[in-house]
C-alpha cells in the first residue's frame, strides 16, 4: 500500500447518499492510513513506490511516493481530522452538498498526496491543488465578502507558488527528489542557494500565513467552520511548515535567510497573539492564534530543532481542530460569531462541551499534562539554548497565548451577562451527539499520552522515534527551571486574561487596541502598494481615458501618466499606424490627382495640340496651285538662306 487516495465523490441525485458515501470513504481512508501507520512503525522502514511520469527532454520525472514516519503519522492525523469533519458535516452542512463533498474530497486527496510525494514537481502540483480547492471552499457561501476572501487567498498563495516554482526550477539541474536533496544541496553555488532559500521561505510563509502575508488567513474565516477546522488546523497552513520541515537543511546552510526567518516568525508570533487578545470574533481569534502557533513551529525550524516543530505540528493539529469544531458548535448554537454574546454561564449549561473545549484550550496555552505543553516547552528549551533573545520573545509569546486563552475561557464559559440576542437554540437534542462525537474523537489528542509516556519529556515521544535524535546543549539546571517558569507564566497569563477589568483597561489604550488591526494593516499594505497601483495603471494603459475624467488626486495622475507610457506600444502605436495608413491613403489620392491632372493633362495637351495643329494645317491643303507655288518659293528661299 502506498498512498491514500480519496476519490472524487461522484455527483448523485440523492443528496443523503452523498454524505454517507463521503463519510464511509473517509472512514476507509482512516483505516488505510492507520494500517500504514502500524506498518511503518512496526517495521521501521519507509514505503517507497515510483513510476515514470514524464520525460521533459533531458530529465525524467518520476511520480515517486515515500512514506516515512513523519508522513505516516501526519497522514493518519489528517485522515482522523477529516473523518471527524465528515461526521460533523452531517449536521453542519445542509446546502450544496454535492459541491461541498466533491471539493472536500479533492482537497483531502491533494493534501494526502502532497504528504507522500517525494518528487518536488509533483509536490508542487499538489501544493497548488490544495490552494485551488481551498479557494473553492472559502467561497462556499457565494457572497461578496467570501468572493473577496477566496480571491485574495488564491492570489497571495499564488505569490508563494511562484516563489516555490522558481526554487524548484533552480533545483531541477541538481535533483528533484526531496530525500536526495540534502546531500546534493551542498554542491550548489551560493548565489543560487540564496535564491532557492528565499523562494522556499516565501512559499512556506505565504501558506502558513506569517508576516506580512497572513492577511488571507484571517479573511479565509468566511469559509464554513468545518472547512476552517480542516484548513487551518491540519492541512493547508500546515503544508507550509511541512515544506520547511522537509527543507530544513536549506536554512541551516544559509544563515542570513535563517535569521530573517527567525525574526519574521517571532514578529508574527507576538503580534498575532496580541491581535488574538483584542479580537472578539471567535473564528478570527482562532485564526490569529493559528498564525501565532505556526510561528512557533517556524522558529523551532530556524533554531535547528525541526523535530520539535514536527511535534508541535501534530499536537497543534489536534487541539486546533477541536477548537474550531467547537467554535462551529457555539456559533451555530448562538447564531453569532462574537465571543461575548455566547450566553451566560455556559460552563453550567453545557458541561460536557466545556470539558472538551476547555481541554483543547488548555493544550493551546500549554498547560501541563497537555500535548501542547509537551511540544511548546521543547521549542522554548531549544530556542533559549541556541538563540537566547528569540527565546525570551517566545516566553513573552507563551504568556500572551495564555493571556488570550484565559480571556476566551472567560468570555465563552464564565460570562456573567447574557448578551445573546437570538433566543432560539438551533441545536436539537437529537443531533447533539453528532456535534459532540468529532470533538470527543479529537480532544484525546490534546493529552500528553497521545504522544509521549512522560508528560514532561517530549524527547520520549513515540511518534518521533525514527527521526534523528536532537542533542540538546542546554545547561542542566535549566531542564528543571524552565518547565516551572513556563507553568508560572501560563497560569499568570490565564489569570490575567480571565479578568474582565484588565480587558476593559487594555481596550482603552489606543496603541494596544490598534494592534488588533494588525491583519488589516497587512491587507492595506498589499492593496495600496501593489494591487491599486498595478490595476489602476493597467486600466489607464488599456483604456482611452481623457485627462479631464480623472480626479485631481496626485496618485491617480501618477498612474495615468504611467499608464499612458505603457499604452505607447499598444493604443498609441495603433493610432500611429492608423495615421500612417491615412497618410498613405492621402498620398495615394494625391498621386491619383497628379496622374489625372498632370500626367494625363500633358498627354491630353499633346493630343489637343496635334488635333488643332492638324486643323490649322488642313487649311493649307486648299487645292490652289498659286498657294502651293508661294509656299514652295518661301521654303526654297528659306533653304537658300540656310545653306548660305
Amino acid at each position: 500500500m502506498s498512498a491514500v487516495f480519496f476519490p472524487h465523490t461522484k455527483k448523485q441525485n440523492s443528496k443523503k447518499i452523498i454524505e454517507y458515501f463521503a463519510l464511509s470513504f473517509s472512514f476507509f481512508a482512516l483505516l488505510a492510513t492507520s494500517t500504514q501507520l502500524f506498518e511503518v512503525f512496526n517495521t521501521g522502514k519507509n514505503i517507497l513506490d515510483s513510476f515514470l511520469w514524464a520525460n521533459t527532454g533531458t530529465q525524467k520525472l518520476y511520480f515517486s511516493i515515500k512514506v516515512d514516519s513523519i508522513t505516516a503519522f501526519f497522514q493518519f492525523s489528517v485522515s482522523l481530522i477529516v473523518f471527524a469533519v465528515h461526521i460533523y458535516s452531517l449536521v453542519y452542512i445542509q446546502t450544496k452538498k454535492v459541491f461541498y463533498y466533491g471539493i472536500l474530497g479533492l482537497f483531502v486527496f491533494a493534501m494526502q498526496s502532497l504528504l507522500a510525494q517525494n518528487n518536488l514537481i509533483l509536490f508542487f502540483v499538489f501544493w497548488e491543488l490544495i490552494g485551488f480547492s481551498s479557494f473553492l471552499l472559502i467561497d462556499f457561501d457565494k457572497t461578496k465578502s467570501s468572493a473577496r476572501a477566496s480571491t485574495k487567498a488564491f492570489l497571495l498563495n499564488r505569490l508563494g507558488d511562484v516563489a516555490l516554482l522558481i526554487a524548484i526550477a533552480l533545483l531541477f539541474n541538481y535533483s528533484l527528489s526531496i530525500s536526495e536533496l540534502k546531500t546534493v544541496f551542498v554542491s550548489i553555488p551560493y548565489s543560487t542557494k540564496i535564491i532557492i532559500a528565499i523562494g522556499i521561505l516565501i512559499a512556506a510563509f505565504v501558506k502558513s500565513g506569517q508576516f506580512p502575508l497572513s492577511t488571507w488567513l484571517f479573511d479565509a474565516m468566511e469559509a464554513p467552520t468545518s472547512i476552517s477546522a480542516l484548513l487551518h488546523a491540519a492541512t493547508l497552513v500546515a503544508a507550509g511548515i511541512y515544506l520547511l520541515i522537509r527543507m530544513e537543511f536549506v536554512f541551516q546552510e544559509i544563515l542570513i535567510i535563517k535569521n530573517i526567518l527567525l525574526v519574521v516568525a517571532l514578529f508574527s508570533v507576538i503580534f498575532s497573539a496580541i491581535t488574538a487578545y483584542f479580537t472578539t470574533n471567535l473564528k478570527k481569534e482562532l485564526a490569529a492564534s493559528t498564525v501565532s502557533q505556526l510561528g512557533f513551529m517556524a522558529i523551532a525550524l530556524g533554531v535547528g530543532a525541526w523535530q520539535a516543530a514536527v511535534l508541535h505540528l501534530f499536537t497543534h493539529a489536534f487541539f486546533k481542530a477541536t477548537l474550531f469544531l467547537g467554535a462551529g458548535f457555539l456559533i451555530e448554537k448562538n447564531q453569532t460569531k462574537e465571543m461575548t454574546e455566547m450566553g451566560k454561564k455556559n460552563y453550567k449549561k453545557i458541561p460536557l462541551f466545556f470539558i472538551l473545549y476547555g481541554t483543547a484550550l488548555a493544550a493551546l496555552v500549554g498547560f501541563p499534562l497537555t500535548s501542547g505543553f509537551l511540544s511548546k516547552e521543547w521549542i522554548l528549551k531549544e530556542t533559549l539554548s541556541n538563540y537566547f533573545f528569540i527565546g525570551i520573545g517566545l516566553l513573552l509569546a507563551t504568556f500572551l497565548t495564555a493571556f488570550y486563552g484565559g480571556r476566551q475561557l472567560q468570555a465563552i464559559f464564565f460570562n456573567e451577562k447574557n448578551n445573546n440576542k437570538s433566543k432560539e437554540n438551533k441545536i436539537s437534542k437529537k443531533q447533539k451527539w453528532f456535534w459532540y462525537m468529532p470533538l470527543i474523537l479529537l480532544f484525546m489528542g490534546s493529552f500528553w499520552f497521545a504522544f509521549s509516556f512522560n508528560p514532561f519529556k517530549p524527547n520520549e515521544n513515540y511518534w518521533l522515534i525514527y527521526l534523528p535524535k536532537l542533542s540538546s546543549n542546554m545547561p542542566n539546571y535549566f531542564q528543571i527551571w524552565l518547565p516551572v517558569l513556563v507553568i508560572c507564566l501560563t497560569i499568570l497569563g490565564i489569570l490575567l486574561g480571565f479578568s474582565t477589568k484588565i480587558n476593559k483597561q487594555l481596550n482603552r489604550i489606543k496603541i494596544l487596541s490598534m494592534t488588533k488591526n494588525y491583519f488589516l494593516w497587512q491587507d492595506k499594505f498589499f492593496i495600496y502598494s501593489f494591487w491599486k497601483p498595478i490595476t489602476q495603471t493597467a486600466y489607464f494603459a488599456a483604456n482611452a481615458v481623457s485627462k479631464k475624467e480623472i480626479s485631481n488626486s496626485v496618485t491617480q495622475k501618477k498612474y495615468f501618466y504611467l499608464g499612458f507610457i505603457l499604452s505607447l506600444l499598444d493604443r498609441k502605436l495603433d493610432i500611429l499606424i492608423d495615421n500612417f495608413s491615412k497618410i498613405i491613403v492621402v498620398l495615394g489620392y494625391f498621386l491619383a490627382w497628379i496622374d489625372k491632372y498632370i500626367i494625363d493633362f500633358s498627354t491630353h495637351f499633346v493630343v489637343f495640340l496635334i488635333h488643332h495643329l492638324g486643323k490649322y494645317l488642313k487649311s493649307l491643303q486648299n487645292g490652289k496651285v498659286q498657294f502651293y507655288l508661294l509656299i514652295l518659293v518661301f521654303v526654297l528661299t528659306l533653304l537658300l538662306f540656310w545653306l548660305i
Binding site: G57, K142, K144, L155, R158, L165, A169, T535, A542, L573
Partner: protein, 540 residues
Amino acid sequence: MENFILSLIFWFPLLGGILCLIPFGENKSHLYKWIGIGILSIELILVMAMFYFAKMNLDISFFDAQHLLLSEKITWWHIKLGNFGILHADYFLGVDSKNILLIMLAALVLWIGALVSVFSKKTLVRSRLYFFLYLLLSWAVMGSFLSLDFLLFFICFEFMLLPMYLLIGIWGGKKKEYAAIKFFIYTLIGSVLILVAGIIIINSGIDITKTALEIGISTEEVITQLKNATLNTSQIVHSFDMLAFKDANYFLPNSVLFASNPNNIRTIIFFLLLVGFAIKLPVAPLHTWLPIAHVEASTPISMVLAGVLLKVGGYGLLRLPFSIFTDTVIDFSFWIAAWGVFSMIYGAFLALGQTHLKRMIAYSSVSHMGFVLLGLAAMNAEGTNGAMYQMLSHGLISPLLFLLVGVLYEQTNNLTITHYSGLFHKMPYYTALVGIAFFAGLGLPTFSSFIAELTVFLGAFSSEYIPIWLSILAASTLIFTASYFLWTYKRMFLGGFSLHQTLKNAELKDISTFHKLIAFILIFFVFLLGIFPSLVFGWF
C-alpha cells in the same frame, strides 16, 4: 493508405470547398453546412489515421531518409537557369515530431469551429460562401503544417490570409472591415519579410543530396568539390526543401549567408524571419492586430484564429529561423528571451486593465505566446519542448475561452466586464465551465498549461544563455496571469447577482447542452495533456 494519407489530408478540404461552389438552390442552403461539417469530420478521421500510422512508425523507429515518420515527395519544379544553377521545388509533404501534434490540434479545432458555426443560436447567413471560405482556410492551414517545401509552405501560409480576411470582414462585428484590413496588412508585412528571407536563403544555399543526384556523384564528393571551389555553378541545385536548410554545409562558401562570412547578413535574415513569424505569433509590440481581430470576429472564427492560426507562427519559428540559424540564436538568445518576457508581462499587464472580456482574452493570448518565444530562446530540450507544449495547450484553452465568451455574447451582445456581477446565481454550469477555462488559462496543475509553463521555466532556468533574473521576471508573470483571470472571475461571476442598467431586459439562460458538449471535448483534452504529459513528450 499510408502512402497517400498526407495528400488526402491536404486536398480534402479543398475538395469540400469546390463542392460548396455547386449551386443547390436557395431553399437547400443547409446542405452547405452539412458539407462543411462532413468534410471536416472526415478530415479529423483522416488525421487520426495519420496519427495512428505515424505512431506505429515511431514505435518501431521507422524513419525515412530525412528522419520523417511519413512523407510524400513529387518533383514539381526543376528549372535549369544557366549560371545560377538549377531551381528545384518538390510537392513535399511530411510529418515529424514538430508538426504532427499541431496537425492533430488544427483538425480538432477546425472541426469544433465548424460545429459551433452551425449549431449556435445565431443563424448563419450566407452559409455557402462561409463554408467555401472556411474549407479553403482549412486547406491552407493543413497545407502550411504539412508541407516541408518552402514554396508550398509559403503559398499556403499566404493563402490563409484571404479566407480569414473575408471571414472576419463579412461575418464580424461593428468594426469588422477595419479589423479585417488590419489583420490582412499586418500579416502581409510578415509574409513579405519571410519571402525576402526565403529567397535569399535559397539563393545562397545548395541542396547537397539533390546536387549529388544531379551530377551523379556521392554527397561527400560534392562537399569536397564545394570546399575546393571546383563545382560547376550551373550544376548546383537550389532547392526549396526546408529540411535541407538545416544542413551544416547548406550555405555556399562564397554566399552572403555562409557561417564564417564576416558580415551581418546572416543576422539580418534571421531577424527578418523572426519578425515575420513574430507578427503572426504575435509578440508585443507587433500584436495590435490581434485584439481588434478577436473582438470583431465571430465566435468560431475567433476560436480558429486563436487556436490554429497563431500556432502557424510558432511552428514557423521552430521550423525555420530557430533550426537554420542556431548560432545566431545563441548570440542573441538573451535578447530574444527578453523580448518574449516583455511580451508576456506586457500582455498580462494590459489584460489586467481591460474592461472588455474578449479583449482581455486576446491579450492573454499575447502573454501566453510570449512563453513560446522564451522557450525557443532557451536553446535546450526543455525549452523547445515547452514551447511546443505551450502551443498545443494554448491551442486548446483559447478556443475554450472564446467559445464560452461567445455563449454570453449571444445572449446579451455585451461583454463589458463591469456590467456583470454574480452570474453564478443565474448560470451555475456556465460559471463552473468558465472557472475551469480560467484556471486552465492561469496554469493550474492538472491542466495542460501548467506542464507547458513549467517546462518552459525549467528550460529557461537551466539555459546557459538566459540570466536568472530574466527567468525570475518571466515567472512573475504567473502572478499577473492569475490576477487578471481571477479578478475578472470574481467581478463577473462571484458575489451577489446584479446587472448594469443597460442589461436590465436581458434574460440570462444557462449554457446550452450543445455548448456544454463542445466545452467538454476541449476540457477533456486539456486535462489529458495536463495529467499525462508523456502523451506529448513521447513524440520528441
